[in-house]
């Protein structure tokens, strides 16, 4: 017994120190000035620390000491900012976490957009593509192209794909949707795929009969709602000026048949909307939605042509976003659950170790990797925005055509390779050293359409300007107010 005790004598904390000569190694991480007093450092997998200004410099100059900066030193070490060994003993853990964050890539293309008709009975002033016409032959997707699109979708390595019907007004070609769903149902059995169906519609022409078919086939409804009537009807022009009334009626009817959770709404921000952030939020809240997605309009198609109305400054959008966000937070502080989707996407990236598969804010970008578009006339595009760019006669992101190109040509062709090169913010100039890299994404389509270059130019990029400020602001909010932190945490549960 005596002998055993002597070999098991307790030792002091200092004996478990592995550091050699007060030196440490830097793991990859980036920094950014958050406020005049604080800076943020973010590591390769998105873990962050907020520190007093000047700390980053001290870290790099090896001026952080285990004894005098005990807590910070421990934080840096345990959060993968520094290592006491040249290769961190937990390098494999870091690698696993990196793989996890990027695992939205594992299954390749999930979202398959079928533009079943370009026809529409609306003339929304920001709309990029739609046509008011009865000419089905020219503006509806042919059965042959629908077949070929489905065949390509069945070749996706992803065992769970989403088939989304868009327009124009997709429901003007409802009989083609039915055809597409029925054929897909059969093939899904053969190819062992789970398929989620979505119809994007303005709801103006929706009927009980259509909805019963949706119910029977588990089809989700994604509608448009820009805010209260005076905004919605101004943005979304239609004979009779009754777009809002039809949308509300359509939402109610859809909910009554499909259930509340099967019906969503998307808003598009215009110059008019920018003046009414609270009214828009209130409208969504009033209608019983549990969240709202505050989206800026995209700079394509008719949108750019209608410059006076639509080309607002990004700064104005950010101000609008912040006001709306605070209004949403206030609802939460009063005990309601009501979230903002763009914030939720970013917060998930900041606060969780899990992947976030939102196609418009990913690196590598969602184009091709997560989304593909089959246009009404058989062209295949990398993203929804790509086909809108094509309406302005820029066919940069056209990957091929259903009649002439194979799966390999489209998904692994030269166009795809060219897009892929500009699709990772890890290697884009200005993004590669950005602290918010892992919270943000790459958008080659946006770059080309707004700046004429697929890689873009960060100092004048509206994508960059918007995301930098929104990300910074979200972090500042939750770091300065514990109640907001709790609200944000509830949004990502």
């Amino acid at each position: 017994m005596e002998k055993e005790k002597s070999t098991r004598k307790f030792k002091g904390l200092e004996l478990y120190d592995r550091q050699v000569e007060k030196d440490y190694f830097l793991l990859p991480f980036r920094f950014h000035r958050l406020t005049p007093e604080k800076e943020i450092i973010v590591n390769e997998v998105g873990d962050y620390l907020i520190l007093p200004n000047g700390t980053f410099e001290k870290i790099v100059k090896r001026q952080i000491f285990k004894d005098s900066d005990e807590e910070l030193y421990g934080d840096l070490l345990s959060n993968f900012f520094i290592s006491e060994e040249k290769v961190s003993p937990l390098i494999d853990v870091l690698a696993t976490r990196y793989r996890t964050k990027k695992s939205f890539l594992d299954d390749f293309t999930s979202l398959h957009i079928f533009v079943v008709s370009l026809r529409c009975e609306h003339t929304c002033h920001y709309c990029q593509v739609s046509r008011v016409t009865q000419d089905k032959g020219k503006y509806d997707m042919s059965i042959e192209h629908i077949n070929k699109g489905i065949d390509l979708m069945m070749r996706s390595p992803n065992s769970h794909v989403t088939m989304e019907f868009q327009g124009g007004e997709a429901l003007l070609a409802f009989e083609n949707i039915v055809y597409a769903v029925e054929r897909t149902k059969e093939l899904a059995k053969v190819f062992n795929k789970k398929v989620t169906y979505v119809i994007c519609t303005n709801l103006a022409v929706i009927t009980e009969e259509i909805l019963l078919y949706c119910k029977e086939n588990d089809i989700l409804i994604s509608s448009s709602l820009d805010g209260p009537a005076f905004i919605h009807n101004e943005n979304r022009k239609r004979p009779g000026r009754n777009s809002y009334e039809l949308a509300i009626k359509g939402i109610e009817l859809s909910r009554s048949i499909l259930g509340k959770s099967r019906v969503s709404a998307l808003m598009t921000t215009t110059n008019l909307s920018l003046e009414h952030p609270k009214e828009i939020v209130d409208e969504y809240y009033r209608l019983g939605f549990k969240s709202i997605f505050l989206r800026p309009i995209s700079p394509y198609g008719f949108a750019v042509k209608n410059e006076r109305k639509n080309k607002y400054e990004t700064e104005k959008f950010i101000a609008f976003y912040k006001t709306a966000l605070h209004h949403i937070i206030d609802y939460n502080l009063k005990g309601e659950f009501f979230s903002e989707d763009y914030a939720s996407i970013i917060l998930k990236k900041i606060l969780t170790p899990f992947p976030v598969g939102y196609v418009d804010l990913n690196s590598p970008a969602g184009a091709i990797n997560n989304v593909i578009v089959f246009n009404y006339e058989g062209s295949v595009y990398a993203t929804d925005e790509s086909r809108m760019l094509a309406e302005m006669n820029d066919f940069s992101f056209k990957l091929g055509h259903l009649d002439t190109h194979s799966y390999e040509d489209i998904f692994y062709g030269e166009r795809a390779a060219w897009i892929a090169e500009a699709s990772t913010n890890e290697n884009l100039p200005g993004c590669s050293e950005c602290a918010f890299q892992s919270y943000c994404g790459a958008d080659p389509v946006h770059n080309l359409s707004t700046q004429g270059d697929i890689s873009g130019y960060r100092p004048t990029s509206s994508f960059c300007q918007k995301n930098m400020e929104i990300i910074r602001y979200l972090i500042e909010l939750m770091e300065s107010d514990k109640r907001i932190r709790t609200v944000f945490e509830s949004w990502i549960q």
Partner: protein, 389 residues
């Protein structure tokens, strides 16, 4: 609770393991007859031996017998005991308990400052496994849960997996809970080997005491332990093994407790359960009490923040070894009555407490060292908690 007694053995050469019964008609070749007060005739049926309080016995042939045992009251019909050549009778399995544990080995590669069952550096693996091999087939098939502890069970080497396979074979419906420091699983082949046992009722309870290696290594008194344990956890996760993280609450683990919770969520989100456990005043703890003691009342803020952070992230969280009167009411939902029945005690003042039924109480040995804030609930809870605030 008495778990060990001793008599005078006759005709016992190697350790025998068997069930006990007081009814001669129930005897089988792997059971002992217990003889309390009345001297009975030597049983007709085949049996393993006789355990008797008497000084003598009739008709002793060549059978194995232990005489002059001071008491047998602690043994229940069906309990399993080991009987040594030295007359020692250890209770190995109690049919009336949910807290039965196999002691795999007393050896350990760590030496935690607060170890409740200090390790011993002797090679006991083959001896103990020899007993367990006999014990496992005797355990009732409806056994709900069986623990395996040490020491560090994985130091059994291949025999560890052998034992788990035997258990899976004999007790396919029993939840198996292994307490290990997880360091051995830093070797990929060990994690792989465990996955080959292929028992989805098997859960490993693995301690992580800090997110900062040096503090963890100091607490467990073993260099490299933290990195080995974390690497081990990841290897186990890769093979889909079920894991529970165990955190003992004391003065050394509290300062970084909230950071540890965040570390668990970020780096070990695959764990099934996180258990926060009050300090046990036994084993090494009394010796190291100055380094370890903090009144539980004084760490409620850190504990609450850590527990609620993990619970909000959807992890299953529990608090063990705490008393309701010391815990803020919002944490009661996480408090579990986890202390094994035979180790469980209450303070004298607890007898008047209206919450006694719901409270986990104290380890018997913690009667000597406990929060200064233990006091009975005498009125309804709402009144009392508003009184505290």
């Amino acid at each position: 609770m008495l778990l060990k007694t001793k008599g005078v053995s006759i005709n016992i050469e190697e350790t025998l393991v068997g069930k006990v019964t007081r009814l001669p008609e129930n005897l089988t070749s792997d059971s002992f007859l217990l003889v309390d007060d009345e001297i009975q005739a030597y049983p007709d049926k085949a049996h393993l031996g006789i355990l008797s309080k008497q000084n003598d016995i009739y008709d002793l042939d060549n059978g194995s017998v232990v005489l002059k045992i001071p008491t047998l009251e602690h043994l229940t019909e069906g309990d399993i005991v080991s009987v040594g050549a030295d007359g020692n009778i250890h209770t190995l399995y109690r049919v009336d308990s949910y807290h039965n544990t196999l002691l795999a080995t007393e050896r350990c590669n760590s030496n935690c400052l607060m170890c409740s069952q200090p390790p011993r550096d002797k090679n006991d693996v083959s001896f103990l496994y020899g007993i367990h091999k006999k014990l496992i087939p005797l355990i009732p098939k409806d056994c709900v849960e069986l623990g395996i502890s040490g020491g560090e069970p994985t130091l059994m080497g291949e025999l560890f997996f052998d034992m788990l396979e035997k258990i899976k074979h004999e007790l396919p419906d029993t939840e198996i809970h292994v307490l290990t420091n997880g360091r051995s699983f830093a070797w990929d082949h060990m994690a792989y080997r465990l996955s080959q046992v292929d028992n989805n009722r098997l859960m490993l309870g693995i301690p992580v005491y800090s997110d900062y290696y040096q503090v963890h290594d100091y607490i467990v008194q073993a260099k490299d332990a933290f990195y080995q344990t974390i690497a081990g956890l990841h290897n186990l996760a890769r093979y889909n093994q079920r894991i529970e993280i165990r955190v003992v609450l004391h003065k050394l683990s509290i300062p970084r407790l909230v950071k540890l919770a965040k570390y668990i969520y970020k780096n070990l989100p695959f764990v099934e359960h996180v258990a926060f456990m009050g300090l046990e005043y036994v084993g090494y703890t009394p010796h190291n009490i100055d380094k370890l003691w903090i009144d539980p009342m004084d760490y409620n803020k850190e504990l609450g923040e850590a527990v609620e952070f993990l619970a909000n992230k959807g992890l299953h969280v529990s608090i063990y070894n705490s008393q309701l009167c010391v815990l803020p009411e919002n944490l009661w939902q996480y408090a579990r009555k986890s202390i094994s029945d035979w180790k469980n005690s209450y303070m004298p003042e607890c007898q008047s407490c209206s919450k006694l039924e719901d409270c986990g109480g104290l380890f018997t040995w913690n009667l000597k060292k406990h929060s200064e804030h233990i006091k009975p609930f005498t009125t309804n809870v709402l009144e009392l908690s508003s009184g505290i605030e």
